[in-house]
Each structure stands twice: as C-alpha cells, then as structure tokens.
C-alpha cells in the first residue's frame, strides 16, 4: 500500500502523482522511442495503428466517457479527417497545414453533428449520430469530383518542403508526437474547469445548469474536440493505409471505435490506449490461436466475430470499467496483499437511471 502525504495543492494538480508514475512513464517513453529498432516492419506498423486509434480513443473517451454523449458516428469523423488530408496533401499542402485543416474541418462537422445533442440525449443521440454517419459515408461516395467516389483515392506520403516522411519509422514518430500532444491536451482539460464541466453534464445536466454551466456551449465544445482529435487520427489513418474509399468509414468502423472505448474503460484516459491495443492486437492473437485450434474451428469464418463479441459481453458484464478498471483492481490487490479486503470494489446496486426523463 502506498501512502502519499500531501503538503501542497499542487500535488493534486500535477500529472505524475508520485515517483512510481515518473518512473514507469519514463520507461514507457523510452520503449516507444526505441520501438523502431526493437520491432520489425510489420509490428511497427501495428504499433503505429495503435497510436492512431489511441487518438480516436481519446476523443471518444472525452465525448462518451466524460461528457456522457454516445456517438455511433465517429467512423464518419475519421473519414472526414482522412479525406481532408488525402485531398489536401495530394494537392501539395505540407502535412502540418493539411493536418491542422483536417482537425479543424472535422471539428466544424462535429459541432454541427452536436446540434441534436442540444435537444436529445442517450439513445436518441446515438441514433442521430448513426444517421449522420450513413449520410456522410454517402457523401464520400457521391462527391466524386473531390473524393473520387467509390473508386477511392490513394494518398501520397506526408511531405513538407520537398521532404517526404515516406519511411514507416519517420511516420511512426510523427504519430507518436501527435499522440503525446493529444494526450496532454485531454489530461489538461480534465484537470481544469472545462473538463469538470463535461463530467458535470454527464452526471446531472440539471444541476450542471444551476452551477452556471452552459449546456449548449460545453456539449458543442465536447463534440468539436472529440471530432477534431478523430479527424487528426483520420489524417494519419489516410497516410498509413495510403488508400481510402467510402466503405472504410462505415457503421462497422464506428461501432468498432465505440467498442474500443468501452473495452478500454469508459471514463479513463488509460482506457483509450488499452482499448486501442486490444482492437489492434485481438485479430493477431486470434490468428496466432488458430494454429492451436482444431482445423474445423480455425477455418470457420465467424470465429473472430464470436470471440470479439464474447469479449465485449464479458467486459460489460464483469468489468464495466474496462481493461483499465481491471488493472486498477489487480494493482490495488498487489499493493495491499495480504491486507486486501475482499469486496473492496463491490459496487452497490443502483436503481436503473431513467433515460426518458430529461
């Protein structure tokens, strides 16, 4: 068990709460910096995807996890970012500019999609974002003059003043830098009034209002930030895949992103990363597992979907706080053993919160 004696308010404000944090995060940092020389090309690519999805995860975490506004439309946000990036960088924009544009445009779209959130919430909002997702995907397919329609467009490597980040390693570091930046943005928001306003809205709109929180403003803000991050991730995604087409940003993508946040652990920044790691590594694990499974089972097509589904169900049933929630418990256990009290984490059953009542 670790006891921390607080002597100044700063200790609650700084990000690294104690030496342990400092140590482990430095280790992680060094590992990430060394990764290109540790991993082969393939695994580096996977790691890059993890970073990209983490950025989406952060955005989704802010929206669904902290502000309590579910979205089944983030696939479309990813698409908006990806297409903006593809079009602009193919048009010769240097990548810092085009990525900023991607984030900005997606943020604007996000603000628009946020409009229903000012009137409806919960399920209704989810369906609204779902509908929006379909419409945007259709727009990608129809607006051929810009998006190349269903044919899709290939994306050239990010470039600035003639210098191309063609190599996977260079691109990996680009993703790393942007991921770190996005993370800092989120944690900063969360330890300041803005972040607390989001949480307030999530837990009780009515009293948030009586605290002087302008719902319209902060909901729109949440949507914009979330969309901006997703758009930025989309820009990276476009470069990573080098080819984008409308059907990549469909409902399935949106759902995957949402599940990523859920599995990672809604309402925790770590969750965004853990979820991304899960989303990327799960298919790999299944691929590996296939070698040990009986042929008939291994060859079956649905296997992946089944395992995926089961994992989701298991998490929501037994670990609503996601991977991070589980980790916290394990850690506490290790710290407190042998003093660990059984039922430290048992949640008291609450009555079903009505979603119809606004």
């Amino acid at each position: 068990m670790r006891f921390i004696f607080k002597t100044s308010y700063d200790q609650d404000i700084v990000l690294a709460k104690h030496g342990g944090h400092v140590f482990w995060y430095s280790v992680l940092g060094l590992f990430l910096l060394a990764a290109p020389w540790i991993f082969g090309e393939y695994w580096l690519a996977q790691l890059t995807f993890v970073l990209i999805y983490s950025i989406v995860g952060l955005g989704l975490m802010l929206l669904a996890g902290y502000t309590g506004l579910p979205s089944i439309g983030h696939g479309a946000f990813l698409g908006v970012g990806a297409y903006t990036q593809a079009v602009l960088s193919n048009a010769g924009w240097p990548f810092p500019l085009s990525m900023a544009a991607a984030a900005l445009i997606t943020a604007l779209v996000g603000a628009i999609v946020g409009l229903p959130a000012l009137r409806v919430r919960g399920l209704y909002l989810a369906v609204a974002t779902l509908a929006f997702g379909f419409i945007v995907q259709e727009a990608f397919a129809r607006w051929e003059s810009v998006t190349g329609g269903n044919a899709g467009i290939s994306v050239m490597a990010p470039h600035i003043m003639g210098w191309k980040l063609a190599s996977p390693v260079a691109f990996y570091f680009l993703c790393l830098v942007l991921t770190v930046a996005s993370t800092l943005l989120i944690v900063n928001l969360l330890r300041t009034p803005t972040g607390r306003a989001f949480v307030a809205i999530r837990d009780s709109e009515i009293s948030a209002q009586s605290m002087g929180i302008n719902l319209a403003h902060f909901k729109t803000l949440a949507f914009s930030i979330s969309a901006a991050l997703t758009g930025l991730a989309g820009a990276l995604y476009a470069h990573k895949l080098q080819f984008i087409s409308p059907e990549q940003f469909d409902i399935v993508m949106s759902i995957d992103l949402l599940l990523m946040a859920i599995i990672g652990g809604l309402g925790s920044v770590h969750g965004a990363f853990l979820g991304a790691i899960f989303l990327i590594s799960m298919p790999q694990m299944i691929a590996l597992a296939k070698d040990y499974l009986p042929q008939a089972l291994a060859q079956a097509n649905g296997l992946q979907a089944v395992i995926y589904g089961l994992v989701v169900i298991a998490f929501i049933m037994f670990e609503p706080l996601g991977i991070y929630g589980r980790w916290v418990k394990v850690r506490t256990y290790l710290q407190t053993v042998p003093l660990y009290r059984k039922g430290t984490f048992t949640r008291q059953k609450t009555f079903q919160k009505s979603d119809r009542l606004k």
């Binding site: 308010y9 700063d10 609650d12 404000i13 943005l185 900063n188 928001l189 330890r191 300041t192 009034p193 803005t194 972040g195 607390r196 306003a197 949480v199 307030a200 999530r202 837990d203 009780s204 009515i206 009293s207 948030a208 209002q209 009586s210 605290m211 002087g212 929180i213 302008n214 719902l215 803000l221 309402g267 008291q348 609450t350």
Partner: protein, 266 residues
C-alpha cells in the same frame, strides 16, 4: 430591514391545464432565512424551479437585486449569485467530492478552453485559488475525510452536506435549499440547522428554503410562507403561520403531513 433581495409578483405557472403555482407573491429580505412550507404538491419546489429558470412562468415577475430573472437562461442564474440544492440530491455521482465542490467554482473559473488545454500558468494559479476556497468550505462543513471519495459511495446524509458545500463554493448571495433535512436523522438535522444559521450569520448569505420539518423551520427561519395547491395561505413568523387556521386546515387535509407538522421525521 427593508432591503429586498428577491421579489416574486403574481407568479403563476401551469402545465397543460394544471395550475401548479397561482399568483404567488413574496419578498425575500437581504440576510434573512425565508422558508416555504406546505403539503406535498403545494408548489414549493415549483417556485424554486421558476427561480432557477428550469420552468418558465406563465405570468408574473421575479426580480433579483433589481433585475428580472424572467429574461435569464437557466445557466445564467448562478452567475447572479443564486445557488441551490435539490430535493432528491443532484450531485455528480461518479466524481469525487473534491471534483464536485470544484464544479461549484465554475462561474469564477476565469479561463477558457485554450488556457485549460495548454494548462497555462494562469490555469494553474486558478486551480490553486479554487482549491483554497473549496478547502475553506470543506473545513466549515467538516468534509475533510470524504474529500477524495466518490460521491456514489457516500451515505445519504453526507451527500446532503456535500450538496450544501457545493452550493457554498459558489459564494452565493442567495441560497435556495430544497428540503435540506429530508432523509437526515436527528443529529444530522441538528447539524444542518446549525450550519444554516452559520451560513446566515457568519457568511451573511440570504437563505430561501423549502422544509417540512417544523422544528427546523421554527429554529432557523425569520419568516415563513405557507402554500397549498399553488396558492399562498399565510405569511409571517413561524409561530404565526403555524397557528394560522388555514394552514392547519390544509395540513389536516392531507393526513400523512399532519405527522410532519407534529414531529420531525427522518
């Protein structure tokens, strides 16, 4: 004391034909504790919701410190210095007590999105300032050892106090308390009474409250307004109002509330 802080004139609101509040007028003096009593469904909470602008009055006026509240949006009320608590607690369940109280400082945050995002020096300073203020309230209401615990895990009594604390963190001029003692046991009710007096005397905050527990009411209130079915029955000192025939009649009308009138129920 002729200094009016809040005044309602001919306040009426009806939901689909049902008249919840009907031509209610009253004035709250600066620095007093003004209490609304009455049987369930008398429209007391509705009056609160009218003041916090959750509802829009069908007719009538509410003036606060000289300006009309009618034209304000719900989230603009707080900035005027009006804080409130809720009948069935409305805390931010999945946040720590500390976080809840810090939300109370929202109107005084003084930094926008970008300063927050970059956590500039001013943001840090703001945080420390807010924290200092919050700690004062924590000391006042003796919440020290709940500081870092999640609201969801706290017993009802403590939540009630946390909600009061959150309201105080707003440094309001007018504090609306909706049934501060409901669900509290005798000791807790006693503390509550003590704190309400402190809030009035030490902090100089005007209190407008809805309360059933007549013991508490008579102990802290300067003036009482009795309502029934959306209408004003009587107004005056606690004793006068309790003695008022119309009031007694109204309570006898609703049997279970007679109990509330006679003894304080937890």
């Amino acid at each position: 004391m002729s200094d009016v802080l809040l005044s309602a004139r001919d306040l009426s609101v009806s939901f689909g034909g049902l008249v919840a509040v009907n031509k209610v007028s009253f004035q709250v003096q600066r620095g007093e504790v003004f209490t609304l009593i009455g049987p369930n469904g008398a429209g007391k909470t509705t009056v609160f919701n009218l003041i916090s602008r959750f509802y829009k009055p069908t007719s009538g006026e509410i003036d606060y410190a000289g300006e009309s509240l009618i034209r304000k949006a719900a989230h603009e009320i707080a900035a005027l210095g009006i804080a409130r608590t809720f009948q069935n607690i409305e805390l931010f369940e999945n946040a720590t007590v500390l976080a809840n109280l810090l939300v109370g400082r929202h109107i005084r945050r003084g930094i926008g999105f970008w300063r927050s995002a970059l956590f500039t020096g001013r943001a840090r300073a703001g945080e420390i300032g807010a924290r200092a203020k919050v700690e004062e309230v924590i000391d006042l209401l003796e919440l020290q050892h709940h500081r870092d615990s999640l609201v969801a895990g706290l017993p009802y009594g403590v939540r009630k106090v946390v909600e009061l604390a959150r309201a105080l963190c707003m440094e309001p001029k007018l504090l609306l308390l909706d049934e501060p003692s409901s669900g509290l046991n005798v000791e807790e009710t006693d503390d509550m009474a003590f704190w309400i007096q402190d809030i009035k005397n030490e902090l100089g905050i005007t209190v407008l409250m809805v309360e059933h527990d007549m013991a508490l009411v008579s102990r802290v209130s300067d003036r009482v307004l009795a309502m029934n079915q959306g209408e004003v029955l009587a107004m005056g000192s606690p004793q006068e109002v309790q003695a008022h025939p119309a009031v007694i009649e109204a309570y006898l009308g609703a049997v279970e509330d007679v109990a509330l009138l006679r003894r304080s129920v937890s």
